[in-house]
Symmetry: C2
Subunit: 516 residues, 2 copies
Amino acid sequence: MSDVATAGRRARGGGGGAARRAERTGISFDTARFIERNIPNFEILNEEALQIIEWNAETVLEEIGVNFLENPGALALWKAAGADVRGERVHIPRGLARKLCATAPRSFTQHARNPARNVEIGGKSLVLAPVYGPPFVRDREGGRRYATIEDFRNFVKLGYMSKWLHHSGGTVCEPTDVAVNKRHLDMLHAHMTLSDKPFMGSVTEPVRAADSVEMAKILFGSDFVDQNTVMTSLININSPLTFDSVMMGALEVYAKAGQAAIISPFIVGGAMAPVTVAGTLTQVLAEVLAGVAYSQLIRPGAPVIFGAFVTSIDMNSGAPTFGTPEAAHITYGAGQLARRLGLPYRSGGSFCGSKLPDAQAAYETSNSLNMALLAGVNFMLHACGWLEGGLVSSYEKFVMDADQLGTLHHLAKGVSVDENGQGMDAIREVGPGGHYLGCAHTQANFKSAFWRSDLLDYKPFETWDEEGARDTEQLASERVKKLLGDYQAPALDEGIREALDAYVAQKKAAEPDAFI
Amino acid sequence: MSDVATAGRRARGGGGGAARRAERTGISFDTARFIERNIPNFEILNEEALQIIEWNAETVLEEIGVNFLENPGALALWKAAGADVRGERVHIPRGLARKLCATAPRSFTQHARNPARNVEIGGKSLVLAPVYGPPFVRDREGGRRYATIEDFRNFVKLGYMSKWLHHSGGTVCEPTDVAVNKRHLDMLHAHMTLSDKPFMGSVTEPVRAADSVEMAKILFGSDFVDQNTVMTSLININSPLTFDSVMMGALEVYAKAGQAAIISPFIVGGAMAPVTVAGTLTQVLAEVLAGVAYSQLIRPGAPVIFGAFVTSIDMNSGAPTFGTPEAAHITYGAGQLARRLGLPYRSGGSFCGSKLPDAQAAYETSNSLNMALLAGVNFMLHACGWLEGGLVSSYEKFVMDADQLGTLHHLAKGVSVDENGQGMDAIREVGPGGHYLGCAHTQANFKSAFWRSDLLDYKPFETWDEEGARDTEQLASERVKKLLGDYQAPALDEGIREALDAYVAQKKAAEPDAFI
């Protein structure tokens, strides 16, 4: 722990004091609790198909193996665990990886600095986090342009103010105006100060993962971070079957610190995995088994998530395609595999290939969001704001998607058949040919009975026309401006704020800017 | 059978001759076969919830009863069957309606004049039919306006040319420039001559249902119609619990003729049914039980479909809302109830409240389409083209939605785990760090592996931008023009064509125009 981190901890007095103060003094925006499903999962694969895929994944690990590149420490750990290591190729005997995975928790709590925003990841939960990674942003008036740190901060603010978003995410866009070797500091600082929702750490270099842990210790206190999970970070696998030293280095930092990692194959089907669904699921399972097993070799019990980022490909052009039936098949199937492995599951998102937040974007996104809910996803990165195949964070689509996430909350509630749910008194009261709007049962239930969009148009045609005949993008553009205008930061202990500032300043001063 | 119908039958020589000739000589557009699901249904209700709803529905029928208005014949039939009839109110003893429903077929074939377009309705099938009923149309250049018979014909042509649409539908829009008492003739004529897909009959008056049967006899031959189902028509129930004489009169005509009817509660939740999901399901089941039972009193074995048209309501404004979670709950639940009753199931559609074919329209539509597939729907009316809460048939949305219907076909295929599906040879061939695009397995499968839109944009940003930065509505507008420009009618025996023309002319001449 650095001196600055220690200073920060002293300033705030340790424990959960900052969070409690935030509750007392800050402006707080209404955020829904993470989803707890009261509906079944959709299980597309039967037992035979699952067993075939699980058998084949073990065959892949044993016979073909996986590459751990430029990572002699990993090779040594694998050898000691009983794997057959040849060069950088690790052949994992049938059953070994699954056995190692058994120490990973089935579910874990990620703490937020506001404890009311803590999320449970695993079991029947679904935690929603925004888009991750785009180098560009788009808005209705400014068009498409490189993202800046100001954009980044705006998206953190929008995420903080989005009722149906439980998590602040990570790289909500790439702040391309900040040096590559320093932007993680500004990004973490934004998540920690502009929001009180849980967030993700940096993974682009192991030292940046270490910075993430240090800054988290300033925010939460060193002991608290030692004993609790306060970050969930994204560790992509270089599919097929390759674990590079940068990502594994970040994983090692987080696992050692007891911080969570999503171990996630990154697959454009037909390019990084077989062109068939069962083949892709086989490779995904093999990769996750190897990655999660490795996390447990680093630290048994380290919290991890079974990740599956999967799209299909347009075989005419090679472009990745989104919201497709094949992606749905894989997402449903991977959920079943994750549950059988006893791991939390990450997949889904507001995926689309469209260049604009138009009908294509919405079709593709709705296809993906609905499938992710029914697939049993526990952590959904990219749940709002994704545009143009992930190249663009869209301001308008962020609030459009975030509004749609409300439907997932209501869907997940399931159907109540208690006396009020049965509504027999209402049917008796109204009778044939009657009208329910005025009856007692309707009056007692109307406020909570139906989900209602905060964005979409429900007006009569004439009113809508008189008010300018606005489409969804226009409504969303106005909502973005309103939200950013209304934004007020959650309260944060001044000492912690100063310690975070100082840490970022010290780290930035310590080395020259790098832009690659 | 009228003289004109007899003439028509003579002209064509009976049997399936017209269809065979159409196959030999006509331009034929590629239409996918109706969907046969190879995936499970999503079952949201558990056994206890289902039993509660089924028990309550029988209580509603026995205790509250249903109204059969201005229909002494129906009351007499119910009395004879053992119901307790008081005035126009029919109290149906527990178990009677379900027992009467048992003679309805679990599945039936609706014949098209081109036998390759026949559809199976029931079991694991899903048949897709276009939007039904809007008085307005909208297109990108002409805006929103009253629909005409020219619009009607255009939508029939678009339906004929849509690969993923199996059915020509019914009132694809209301031809408001034709007299109310005659427009059914022009509509039937359009479906029969401009398309060779199966279609629906008129239900707005019993005599118009009789005209539908007569015209079908001209097209198919009288004996063929007597022995086969060639129309599936929409019989709405006046929820709550009311069966009016117009709709029941049409049902009586169709049931006697062995033609199929969708018995369909029409429910805006909170207005025509209880504001809770289980309460709405109870009423839906009671209404369908009564309606289907009545169809079986008319003619045991008459083909019928368990219908459920359900939307929720915006409690702030009273506007119906679409693609909502509550509609999904009801659609999933009603599917379970229909399967337990052993009846084909109609629900779902391209529902939306948006005024434009924009992102709102697409979010709401995708929510509905996906849910309908997983709910086990067998017949989906309104599968494309619905806009503005059903007030508008949209040209652009018709082709946009029709394209999305392709995703349902691919989703329904499920996951193959045969040797090719497993793709182990591909994983072996490519190995860690390799690339699948060039491998033998990919080459052998790439044409059929992934669904591909015929409409949406998959281009790189720069190409898309240079080509005019078109949104989905613009792409769709161009597709509409292309399809209508390319349209060629399927071949039809000249004698049949003349007989249909003559029937319409004779009927139109026989009475003055009515415009209400």
